[in-house]
């Protein structure tokens, strides 16, 4: 029995050793990456001078076309991330500032995401490799219940989020395989779908003061960045459209731009404009907030 216990002890040591080794290898590889995801781009590229930085969820990522801003002479990057919540947007802005990027305007999409203060799993996964090396990321996630596991258990974060930062993603990172997330200056155009879902129900969304929106406002004020917060369009067949009015009642500084585009032919799905819709919407945003001098 003693020899078996010794054997099990060695096996467990081997398991922990491999976990530590894999953790080091994965973390090192991700810490050098800059071709695949937006936060990597922020962390690993030299400081830039931005006129406009776009933040938000997929409804920012798919709706604002930086190319049209640049035609106006505004250096712009769309940092909107599909699936992200204001929780991660606030962190990304903090990192942008920390990396000494100069930003004149933050154009923030804040509408449906105002009703959510939780983290988004997919976006969170991209930040986790930097948990030990970046104190801003660490302190942002410190209050999450799983934080001790992510931080102290070797390789646990890569197992828990294997579909985002697991072996396949590691291989793509090693191969410098570019992802679509950094193309078109961060804008991801959507095609039209004949069978796109053209209805939605927002009646269940519970709007309440969002602390990460407050954090974004505070960061902008502290660093003299002008913040423009907008809502973006949804298709016509929506139940609970009153939500957008409640947003402007709760936060009067938010511009309700939901009705800037309203024909279904401009939509890929009910909550997302297609490329033509995004271009029309961006033009209207530019005309309203960045008119030619």
């Amino acid at each position: 029995m003693k020899s078996f216990l010794r054997y099990i002890g060695f096996a467990l040591l081997l398991l922990v050793g491999i976990a530590v080794l894999l953790d080091v290898v994965y973390t090192d590889i991700y810490s050098l990456a800059k071709d695949r995801w937006k936060m990597e781009y922020v962390l690993h590229t030299p400081a830039q001078q931005y006129d406009v930085v776009i933040l938000g969820s997929s409804r920012a990522n798919n709706h604002f076309v930086p190319e049209l801003f640049e035609k106006q002479g505004l250096k712009t990057f769309n940092f909107g991330m599909s699936g992200s919540h204001l929780f991660e947007d606030a962190l990304l802005l903090e990192l942008l500032i920390e990396q000494k990027n100069s930003i004149n305007y933050v154009l923030l999409e804040a509408d449906l995401n105002l009703s959510n203060e939780k983290r988004d799993e997919g976006t969170t996964a991209r930040y986790l490799p930097y948990l030990r090396s970046n104190s801003t990321i660490r302190s942002h996630y410190q209050n999450e219940p799983e934080f001790p596991y992510w931080y102290y258990l070797p390789f646990y974060r890569y197992m828990a989020f294997e579909s985002q930062i697991g072996f396949l993603e590691l291989m793509k990172t090693v191969a410098h395989e570019p992802s679509s997330s950094l193309s078109n200056k961060g804008y991801y155009p959507l095609p039209s779908h004949k069978k796109g879902n053209m209805k939605n129900d927002y009646r269940a969304l519970k709007l309440r003061p969002n602390r990460y929106y407050q954090q974004i406002k505070k960061l902008c004020a502290q660093h003299h960045i002008r913040l423009i917060t907008v809502t973006t369009p949804v298709c016509e067949n929506v139940k609970g459209m009153a939500y957008f009015e409640k947003v402007t009642q709760l936060y009067p500084e938010i511009h309700n731009c939901e009705d800037f585009v309203n024909q279904d032919r401009y939509f890929s799905s009910c909550g997302h404009l297609n490329d033509a819709g995004a271009r029309l919407f961006t033009q209207k945003i530019i005309s309203k907030f960045f008119p030619k001098k």
Binding site: M1, F4, L14, L15, Y158, M159, A160, E162, G166
Partner: protein, 477 residues
């Protein structure tokens, strides 16, 4: 409490410690501890069904004793049929009643009669098919005079409820497990080490192979009406490896866990995808169920005795029953029927026992023939798996029709945002490892065992699927 869960990882070590330290000197204490542990393990699934398990155990224990003690044949027969009737009655009620009620209603509707059947919609008690078959084999063996009835209720209850095999087998025989339960167990380092290897290899099969294949197979089966021929063909292959990794991985873990307690369970899989014909496949796949049907259905029906038509009837009977054992759905019935059809030419030509020896691969034409036979058998199996996996017969036929007619062989980007070649490379590696070690239970033991164990750990950590947890497929049966 799944074998691959953290809860089980916390559950097993204290049981192991108590078993070998506190109870080591008394087999009665060891059995009592294992029985108590087994009931806790089962109650973790759903404590309400524990009463059903207790009743089933009591029924078979009591009827077994009555059969053994009765001197009159009529009395023996009464207790025997009482046990068989109640066991199958429970199984029928929980597993098959709704299926038959709906099927009869549909039949009546075909004649223009509208019937709204009364449905139970009961939850299927986990492991019911397995522990019912344990009990049935025990009672049949006593009735046939092959074994004596067990007098110790704890020992008998442990035989039925032993936690490594309780929820998904292997389906044990009283002749094999009960004598071990009654013997004093002494700790054996080599047996426990073999157990650890089996547990680790079972985890690799489940977490690295089965769960990864499942995400690809689901992406293809759920979008079968829009993917091309290549993806549909690969979807069937992925499901073949999913179900193999899932079930044989579970069986390996069950056998390995049992070895830690000094009890040997029946082998359930013997590299079935290296079979050269379908008869060999069925000697290597879910061996404990196939042999159960062979011993308790096929042979009593006459087996291979009698004329060709009798043999044919017997073969179809066990394959269709085997399909139906898996679940109340026409897809399982057809899966069994299809396997019987595959078996037919071998039976007709008396070649069903042609490949009894383990396959060797010489570097000549006969080696090539063996490879082609293995591939052909695997292809037939994959076609049958489409019926097993599909939700209905219509879905299965549509799948196969599109597979045959689409004609597009380009590699596709799948709905799980993955390419086929990523998984194919993993499967090829897995097959190579299994082929290299096809003459042993698992590939870890032997030379460089520590290195191989380390590679398995690395595979588990780096290549396992953790974000999309999947239950063991056979828990639903």
């Amino acid at each position: 409490m799944f074998f691959n869960s953290l809860a089980f990882a916390l559950f097993l070590p204290p049981v192991f410690a108590l078993y070998w330290w506190l109870c080591a000197k008394s087999v009665a204490k060891q059995n009592a501890l294992l029985l108590l542990t087994s009931y806790v393990f089962y109650a973790c699934w759903d404590w309400r069904f524990l009463f059903l398990l207790l009743f089933s155990t009591f029924l078979d224990y009591f009827t077994g004793l009555q059969i053994h003690q009765s001197e009159r044949v009529a009395k023996k027969r009464f207790w025997f049929w009482l046990s068989i009737g109640v066991n199958l009655g429970f199984l029928g009620l929980f597993k098959y009643y709704d299926f038959f009620a709906v099927s009869f209603a549909e039949l009546f509707q075909g004649f223009g009669l509208s019937v709204s059947p009364f449905l139970l919609k009961w939850l299927l008690p986990v492991g019911i098919s397995f522990y019912t078959f344990h009990g049935l084999s025990y009672v049949i063996d006593i009735y046939k005079g092959r074994i004596l009835a067990e007098k110790n209720p704890v020992d008998y209850a442990l035989f039925v409820s032993y936690f490594p095999l309780l929820v998904a087998g292997p389906i044990e025989r009283a002749t094999h497990l009960l004598p071990q339960i009654k013997q004093t167990r002494k700790f054996s380092f080599s047996q426990a080490q073999e157990g650890v290897y089996l547990i680790v290899w079972g985890l690799v099969k489940k977490i690295v192979i089965a769960d990864t294949c499942a995400t690809y197979a689901n992406a293809i089966f759920d979008h079968a009406d829009s993917v091309n021929t290549l993806s549909l063909a690969l979807g069937a292959v992925y499901f073949a490896f999913q179900i193999y990794g899932d079930f044989s991985g579970y069986s390996d873990m069950a056998i390995g866990i049992s070895k830690l307690f000094g009890l040997e369970l029946l082998r359930n899989f013997n590299y079935p995808y290296f079979s050269r014909d379908i008869a060999e496949f069925w000697r290597r796949w879910h061996i404990s169920l196939s042999s159960w049907f062979r011993d308790y259905v096929y042979i009593p029906l006459g087996g291979s005795q009698g004329g060709k038509w009798m043999q044919l009837r017997n073969v179809f009977a066990i394959f269709i029953l085997s399909g139906f054992w898996h679940g109340a759905n026409y897809t399982y019935l057809f899966w069994g029927f299809l396997n019987a059809l595959y078996f037919l030419p071998l039976l007709w030509q008396q070649k069903n026992r042609a490949n009894l020896e383990s396959s060797k691969l010489p570097w000549n034409l006969s080696g090539l023939r063996i490879v082609l036979n293995i591939l052909a058998t695997f292809a037939l199996t994959c076609i049958a798996w489409v019926f097993f996996r599909a939700k209905s017969m219509t879905v299965a036929w549509d799948y196969l029709y599109r597979l045959a007619t689409n004609g597009n062989w380009n590699s596709e980007f799948l709905a799980n945002r993955r390419y086929n070649f990523e998984l194919l490379s993993l499967i090829v590696l897995f097959v190579a490892v299994e082929w290299r070690h096809r003459n042993q239970m698992q590939p870890i033991s032997g030379k460089y065992a520590w290195l191989k164990l380390g590679l398995c750990f690395a595979a588990l950590l780096a290549l396992g699927t953790y974000s999309d947890y999947k239950s063991f497929i056979y828990f639903q049966f």
